[in-house]
Symmetry: C2
Subunit: 292 residues, 2 copies
């Protein structure tokens, strides 16, 4: 297992971590500059942040600073209620692959979606099996495009508390079943993003990380689970402030040969988004050394 | 599958559903009277409610009204940091079995506990595997006492969002692994409480209900998952107001031979606890007919 205690060379910042300071959207170029000033070598930006600044601008900035992208957030949201909706998702996901290629991302992260309408508070139906079937088909099709474009797809199993509205793939086992079905040769173009926040509770986690193996372990995300957790979406903790044994999970992942970045991804309305971005990045660097 | 549309003979009320109306604790005798007046044939009370009114009082009231107990809430909370703590949990769980026997409950529901201290916001350690081991041992020991006393123990797998503080058994598969390990003969004294709120998201749910079979399906709890869910603990929905396909899950359970009560268990600070208990019970009866 790599020693993280001396430096932060394997730290990546998911740019959502410092995007909403005191409710004000922070421009992605500013976030990139702040990361670069601190010797942070990798980021993972969101599509809407990139779009707001312009893809070519971000592409140039990333190159200027020699930054790597540990991932690109995000593709997915496959389910829909009709053919037009499925087609729109397909088209949008292909654009996401194109952007990820332009930015030279390590992978496109997939948050696969679930019951249509649920995210807006009004699910159109309750048939999660149907959504899972649409997700399977959507990934299958996108995988062809991703393969041609050499852009790995990382299915991110989300915590079961997001099963209704954000992702109907909720365990590593389930994600890996999809990988096995669609990429039996373990090509490296389809795998998983392991976010400790989503999977730490799973009694089968260690076994499924082993099952994934190096070829399918495409990304590793860290933050912490707070007790109590006061909001289902935006109350993630800084590494070390919660109950997740992050080093143990990192050990399992690295035992399989994973040698990529540990990407910090914290959505935190009440705590970390209430501070200036700079000090938050400094805390990420410090905790990366002591709690990851 | 039984037809629930014509009457509510298979409705049970978990008494937490109407215990905190407008923040005021409702005495259990009043709740029992309100249920009996409506022809509700079963309840599932909580130990603290019973203790507040007196065990003998509740026992008498239950008999007077000819009420069944679909379950008794609850035993469990096995993990501790030292031998004294483990012993205290052991003793308390035996008392819970005694009370369940006195009330002639169908089963004692087990919410097994997890990281010591986490429920109070300060986990003593992060070793969930250790807690799981303590839970395994605690159930093993309690099972001996429960067997002698003919009181079935129903392990309730809780939603993974409670894995830190309330229960480290989080899937049906995990609960049934414990059942298989401790009661390989399928004696009927160890099984599971299937609460749709906790397990609806699980892609292996149907298969695990089949695996459980009639001998291990000891209780069936209903409510609904709202989108959005605004509180991790106390924002459960009334059946029909959320995204869970309850009839489908009830069909799976009944296909295995389950013929017990559908127990309504709703914790709802913002909605159902803001109304008088009577109308809430009336709504439970109505939704039991249309949405369960």
């Amino acid at each position: 297992m790599r020693d993280f205690s001396q430096d932060h060379r394997w730290l990546s910042i998911n740019t959502a971590t410092v995007r909403k300071q005191r409710g004000v959207e922070q421009p992605l170029p500013d976030i990139i500059e702040a990361c670069a000033r601190r010797g942070i070598r990798a980021i993972s930006p969101w599509r809407d942040q990139v779009a707001a600044a312009g893809l070519s601008t971000i592409s140039r900035l990333v190159k200027t600073h020699g930054l790597a992208l540990s991932g690109y957030c995000r593709g997915g949201m496959f389910p829909a209620t009709n053919a037009a909706g499925l087609q729109a998702a397909r088209d949008d996901n292909r654009r996401a692959v194109d952007e990820a290629c332009e930015l030279n991302a390590a992978c496109l992260v997939l948050v696969v979606g679930s019951l249509p309408g649920a995210l807006a508070g009004k699910a159109v139906h309750k048939d999660i099996a149907l959504s899972r079937s649409q997700v399977h088909d959507g990934i299958a099709e996108l995988l062809e495009y991703a393969t041609v474009n050499h852009m790995p797809l990382a299915i991110e199993p989300l915590h079961p508390m997001y099963a209704a509205d954000r992702a109907c793939i909720n365990t590593m086992e389930q994600a890996l079943d999809v990988c096995d079905a669609l990429d039996s040769s373990r090509s490296g173009t389809l795998g998983v993003a392991v976010d400790v926040y989503h999977v730490w509770w799973d009694p089968k986690l260690e076994a499924q990380i082993k099952r994934a193996g190096k070829e399918r372990l495409l990304a590793f995300h860290v933050c912490d689970w707070l007790t109590p957790t006061t909001d289902l979406l935006n109350d993630r903790g800084m590494m070390g402030d919660g109950v997740i044994d992050i080093p143990k999970i990192r050990g399992w992942v690295e035992a399989q040969g994973f040698a990529g970045y540990s990407e910090v991804e914290i959505f935190s309305t009440a705590t970390w988004w209430q501070r200036d971005g700079g000090p938050v990045l400094d805390t990420c660097i410090a905790r990366h050394k002591t709690a990851v």
